[in-house]
């Protein structure tokens, strides 16, 4: 049962199977069952995981013999939360699409993407990592381009080319690193023990950083994100915001920090300033957005800016906060985008000026929405608080002013999120509003699960922090000089 490869195999097999299923009802049930199966198969890893810094459940095969490139996967405390997040969110995302009539191809792409994402989080060889990195990009491009709305082709082309551009720089850096070792290899262990010169580290840093910064996205590389989130179908937005951008942060932690520690240390103040600017800038833009999805897209830039800042703060608190907040952010954006989607289905619009007063006909939605929102703005006893507290603590230890300006997210987040809630739920119904039906069935189920974890992780954050603590401490010990 503790065969990691099976986690990659199930989604791929499921994708092949789903390709040929035309009938929507059957397709979504198969997709749900296979994604639940993947989730079930990841439970043994959670149980069998020993919370120390070691790499566990490792598997490796020689992939390209002549180049000594391996297919090498393994699990440690930093990747486990993300693997659980991925496998936990995919069933929710599939379930959230039960109100639509997607054909099997849609779910096939989702499953395929899951495999790519898992490979990214599990890879122990930079070659495998890169394959997963690009593999995840292709399905989401088709999901967004085929089922999106509006100016989707142009927007998606930009998204694809922009993120691909970043990846190319990373590829160049990987090829460079490949040639540096005595024994040519892209194994994580050998890359980490390369002892690059300072100059080499600087170049490698920027190449990697560009790839990750575009994916995360960090200001000012973010402009693909609001358009893409807005035009993508709800499922695509959830995949992008909920899981895909974590690839970038994970990449920072897994590859950039250990490989180019000196460069990270010497550039961290620049990156932190970018992150903090991004937090304030995106929050301010979110104030006045009329399109609900675009509002959340900008808020997401602010949130991940804080996460990235925590990583670069180079503190246990900051990195632990980043790991926890990645999970939290995944939960909350999936919840919020789902709420936007189900309101859009009911009202055929996404404009805040056409919404309002939904709390009266939809009391259940009003409750779960509020809890998820409070999680997003970091109210104590919800998951977001611990994450933000740790991130800001990390920033504070790096520099007081970073924490002060980063902490503005506390105020600004409340401003735009409460405006969002007020414009959606409070006030009067629009005079020409259609009758609104409260959430039920799959909608209630998805949102209840998210609500439960929002509170559970707020009260018991050790569930995540305990998994990653040893690995994070080890990471910092390994790269501290």
């Amino acid at each position: 049962m503790d065969n990691l490869f099976i986690l990659l195999l199930i989604p791929v097999v499921a994708a092949c199977l789903l390709c040929v299923v035309k009938e929507p009802t059957r397709a979504r049930w198969i997709a749900l069952l296979t994604s639940l199966l993947t989730l079930a198969f990841s439970i043994p890893f959670l149980i069998g995981f020993v919370p120390d810094a070691s790499m566990q459940f490792e598997q490796s095969w020689m992939w390209i013999e002549t180049l000594r490139l391996q297919f090498h996967i393994g699990l440690d405390g930093i990747s486990l939360p993300l693997v659980l997040l991925t496998n936990g969110l995919i069933p929710l995302i599939v379930l959230s699409s039960f109100g639509k009539r997607y054909s099997g191809v849609f779910y096939a792409l989702v499953s395929f993407m899951q495999a790519g994402l898992l490979l990214v989080f599990l890879a122990r060889d930079a070659f495998s990592f890169y394959v997963g990195w690009e593999l995840a990009l292709i399905p989401i491009y088709f999901i967004c381009a085929l089922w999106g709305e509006g100016d989707r082709i142009r927007v998606n082309l930009k998204f694809f080319v922009y993120t691909f551009l970043g990846s190319i720089f990373m590829l160049v850096a990987l090829i460079y690193l490949y040639h540096q070792g005595v024994v040519k290899s892209l194994e994580w262990e050998s890359l980490v023990s390369l002892n690059l010169s300072e100059d080499a580290q600087r170049w490698v840093f920027w190449a990697f950083f560009l790839a990750f910064a575009i994916k995360i996205p960090i200001f000012p590389f973010h402009t693909w994100q609001p358009d893409t989130y807005t035009q993508a179908p709800a499922g695509g937005t959830m995949l992008l915001a909920g899981i895909m951008l974590k690839m970038g942060v994970y990449g920072l932690l897994r590859w950039l920090l250990p490989i180019a520690p000196f460069a990270v240390l010497s550039y961290s103040h620049i990156i932190l300033i970018l992150c903090v600017i991004g937090i304030v800038y995106a929050s301010i833009i979110a104030f006045k957005q009329q399109d609900a999805k675009r509002l959340v897209a900008y808020s997401s830039i602010a949130h991940v800016g804080l996460i990235a800042a925590g990583v670069f703060s180079w503190q246990v608190e900051g990195i632990q906060g980043a790991v926890l907040q990645m999970v939290n952010h995944g939960l909350s954006v999936v919840g919020i985008f789902f709420i936007i989607d189900l309101l859009q289905e009911r009202t055929a619009t996404r404009s805040l000026s056409a919404w309002g007063g939904f709390a009266k006909p939809m009391p259940r939605l009003a409750t779960v929405f509020l809890i998820i929102l409070m999680g997003a703005i970091g109210l104590p006893l919800t998951n977001g608080f611990i994450g933000e507290f740790l991130l800001l603590k990390g920033l504070f230890d790096y520099g007081v002013w970073y924490a002060t300006f980063g902490g503005l997210t506390l105020i600004l987040g409340a401003v735009y999120m409460l405006r969002f809630y007020q414009k959606t739920m409070l006030g009067h119904l629009q005079p020409d509003a259609k009758p609104m039906i409260d959430i039920k069935g799959h909608e209630l189920l998805v949102l209840s699960i998210i609500t439960f974890f929002t509170i559970f992780l707020g009260v018991w954050p050790k569930a995540i922090l305990g998994l990653s603590e040893a690995a994070v401490v080890n990471l910092l010990n390994q790269i501290k000089f």
């Binding site: 930009k158 080319v161 922009y162 000012p220 973010h222 402009t223 693909w224 800038y281 301010i284 833009i285 979110a286 104030f287 006045k288 957005q289 503190q315 246990v316 608190e317 632990q320 906060g321 309002g356 007063g357 709390a359 009266k360 009391p363 409750t367 409070m374 109210l379 104590p380 006893l381 608080f385 611990i386 507290f389 740790l390 800001l392 603590k393 504070f396 230890d397 007081v400 924490a403 002060t404 902490g407 503005l408 506390l410 105020i411 409340a414 401003v415 409460l418 405006r419 007020q422 739920m425 409070l426 006030g427 009067h428 954050p461 050790k462 922090l465 603590e469 401490v473």
Partner: protein, 638 residues
């Protein structure tokens, strides 16, 4: 008992969950009973806890019990436990919260009886009690922060309880955001405390702090940040404008949250951190100035307000200002004493106002009331007691607490005392104005309203009576020595307040001087009452208030234009900035650059592809020219 104090917050939480889940499926009476019983249970437990602390104090111990519930989280060297601290300070706060809270729950059963959101209302109230008890019970700053933010959420929910009215919803949002500004200060203070002391546990922080020198910069920063937090929660300048707007919530909420408990959390925070504040004279001085200015400004605004709840709201801001003045001049006991008495009489006044509003069918404008004395005898009597108490007329509760603050202020800085005295006179004036406008003269509302005027049901009057009794006798728990008392409250709180090495300010005034100070303020208050009587009790026509267009009147009536100032200086520029960032910086600037890179390649592709004309002759020509060029290069280069 002290091992079970975790039940005090837990029971209201259970009440919240039960009420929240069943709010639409059970009759209102069940929701009311569940909600009230939950708080009553907490009150009983709090009383037991108080008795235990009291017994321990009598036995001469410091009476401080810490209960470790569970380890919340730990990262690196940072370990945060969810643990509770029962000591004299938290015991008294618990009594106020659950006691006044229970009375207000009872009152709400009748007040909200006709509201369709009855179950939801009780769920929110229980949630509030949960967070408020967490706030005072926490044994470290982070647990206090849970409660601190949690009560902010409840305040948001309850102010916006009638959320269909979008101005109410906006008031709720404003309260939350202004509170959050303070919360950022709190959070930064936490980081500084962690950095300076390595822990957030009160015991460890205060023990470590007592070794530091007076005026150490880090202590000054910490205390100033904590004070910023307190200004948000306790509605002090510059963050006070949310509290008057918060009157949009149902009246019991105004009584519980925006008068008796939540807004005093700032005072609790400062009293709790007195060890730190005593080490930072600068912060104390700033606090005193902010307190006295807030007290004066709010009282000044309250003079001319016509909405009965707005008057009380500004009065609350003003009284909170008093408390911070007291804290600033070192009268920690006095300030906390005022928290206690204020909780009684201000809750009483709000509930009384609620009873009046209930009687005249949700009319809040005092110009449309009058002459209600006969129809509402119990309400009138109890509100009269509350008014006398807040005006500082002996032997009612407000006199003792206000006197203690003023006496300390006089010793510290006579100028503050003068401003404080003027504020006290204002207080007496606007409170008696409120009383006379409401209960004296002739009824000025519609005939339809008049026919409905009735005394409130017993569920509403009983809490009024109990609070009135407390407002009368509440002051006797800390009678000053000048009046033959022995500062019982001060003695009870001694372990909390005397942890620091630095001595607290001791009142060194002679008894004679104290008598003079008391005499001046009491006499002034009485004169103001008489003045208000001549001006408003007989005068049926109150519309002439409007004719007084003097500058001062307009300033007071329009609340010093603070809201307008904030709108012009902060809110609107931020909105414009948002649009500017979105349209020009993001869309045109950054995205323009990104798209520009793409356009550059598309454009250069368009240009270069012109070479691919498709004419074979042209290709061959290019080939020949290139061959010749290479040949020539080869020849001349070598």
């Amino acid at each position: 008992m002290s091992a079970l104090i975790w039940l005090i917050p837990l029971i209201p939480l259970l009440g919240f969950i039960i009420n929240g889940l069943t709010r639409n499926s059970v009759p209102k009476i069940v929701s009311g009973i569940v909600g009230s019983l939950a708080v009553l249970a907490s009150f009983v437990l709090s009383t037991l806890a108080y008795l235990e602390v009291s017994a321990a104090r009598d036995a001469g111990s410091v009476a401080s019990f810490t209960v470790h519930v569970f380890d919340w989280f730990s990262v690196g060297s940072l370990r945060i436990a969810l643990s509770f601290l029962l000591d004299p300070l938290s015991a008294i706060m618990l009594l106020i919260i659950t006691g006044v809270g229970f009375l207000i729950h009872l009152y709400s059963c009748a007040y909200m009886a006709h509201d369709e959101g009855f179950g939801k209302f009780f769920a929110y109230l229980n949630l509030f009690i949960f967070f408020m008890t967490i706030l005072v019970l926490g044994s470290n700053y982070l647990v206090m922060f849970i409660g601190w933010e949690g009560v902010g959420l409840c305040s948001y929910l309850l102010i916006g309880f009638w959320f269909k009215n979008s101005s109410y919803a906006s008031a709720a949002k404003k309260a939350f955001i202004m509170n959050r500004i303070g919360d950022l200060g709190f959070l930064l203070a936490l980081f500084f405390i962690l950095e300076a002391f390595g822990s957030l546990e009160y015991a460890e922080v205060f023990a470590a702090a007592s070794g530091m020198s007076v005026g150490a910069p880090v202590i000054v920063i910490i205390t100033l940040l904590l004070f910023v937090a307190a200004t948000g929660k306790s509605a002090q300048i510059p963050l006070f404008t949310w509290l008057p707007d918060a009157m949009a919530g149902p009246t019991p909420v105004s009584a519980l949250i925006h008068a008796a408990t939540m807004v005093t959390a700032g005072v609790y925070l400062v009293v709790r951190s007195n060890v730190l504040f005593l080490l930072a004279p600068l912060s104390m001085e700033i606090m005193a100035v902010v307190g006295v200015v807030t007290a004066f400004v709010a009282a000044f605004i309250a003079l001319t307000q016509n909405d009965i709840k707005k008057v009380l709201a500004y009065s609350t801001v003003s009284q909170l200002g008093y408390m911070f003045l007291g804290l600033g001049v070192g009268a920690f006991t006095g300030a906390f004493f005022h928290v206690l008495t204020h909780a009684f009489f201000k809750a009483l006044l709000f509930l009384g106002a609620g009873s009046v509003i209930h009687a005249v069918q949700d009319e809040q404008d005092m110009r449309k009331m009058g002459g209600l004395r006969k129809a509402l005898p119990i309400t009138f009597t109890t509100m009269l007691i509350g008014t006398i108490a807040i005006s500082g007329i002996p032997p009612f509760a407000g006199f003792f607490s206000k006197d203690e603050i003023l006496a300390h202020t006089f010793q510290h800085q006579p100028v503050f005392w003068v401003i404080g005295l003027i504020t006290a006179l204002f207080t007496a004036f606007y409170m008696f104005r409120l009383l006379f406008l409401t209960f004296f003269g002739k009824f000025r509302g519609t005939a339809e309203q008049q026919s409905h005027v009735h005394e409130s049901p017993w569920l509403m009057t009983v809490p009024l009576i109990i609070l009135a009794i407390l407002s009368v006798v509440g002051g006797f728990i800390n009678v000053p020595e000048a009046l033959g008392g022995h500062h019982a409250l001060q003695a009870f709180l001694a372990p909390v307040l005397e942890m620091g090495e630095v001595n607290h300010t001791v009142l060194e005034l002679s008894h004679m001087a104290e008598y003079v100070l008391m005499g001046v303020s009491v006499l002034g208050a009485l004169m103001m009452a008489v003045f208000a009587y001549t001006k408003y009790a007989k005068n049926v026509d109150v519309a002439d208030d409007k004719k007084q267009e003097s500058l001062l009147y307009r300033l007071s009536y329009s609340k010093l234009y603070v809201d307008e100032l904030y709108a012009t200086v902060i809110v609107r520029p931020l909105g414009k900035l948002s649009v500017f960032f979105f349209k020009y910086v993001d869309k045109m600037g950054i995205d323009g650059f990104v798209n520009g890179v793409g356009d550059f390649f598309i454009g250069s592709g368009k240009g270069i592809r012109q070479l691919q004309s498709g004419h074979v002759g042209f290709y061959i020509m290019m080939m020949v020219i290139s061959v010749v060029a290479i040949l020539l290069y080869g020849i001349f280069h070598s």
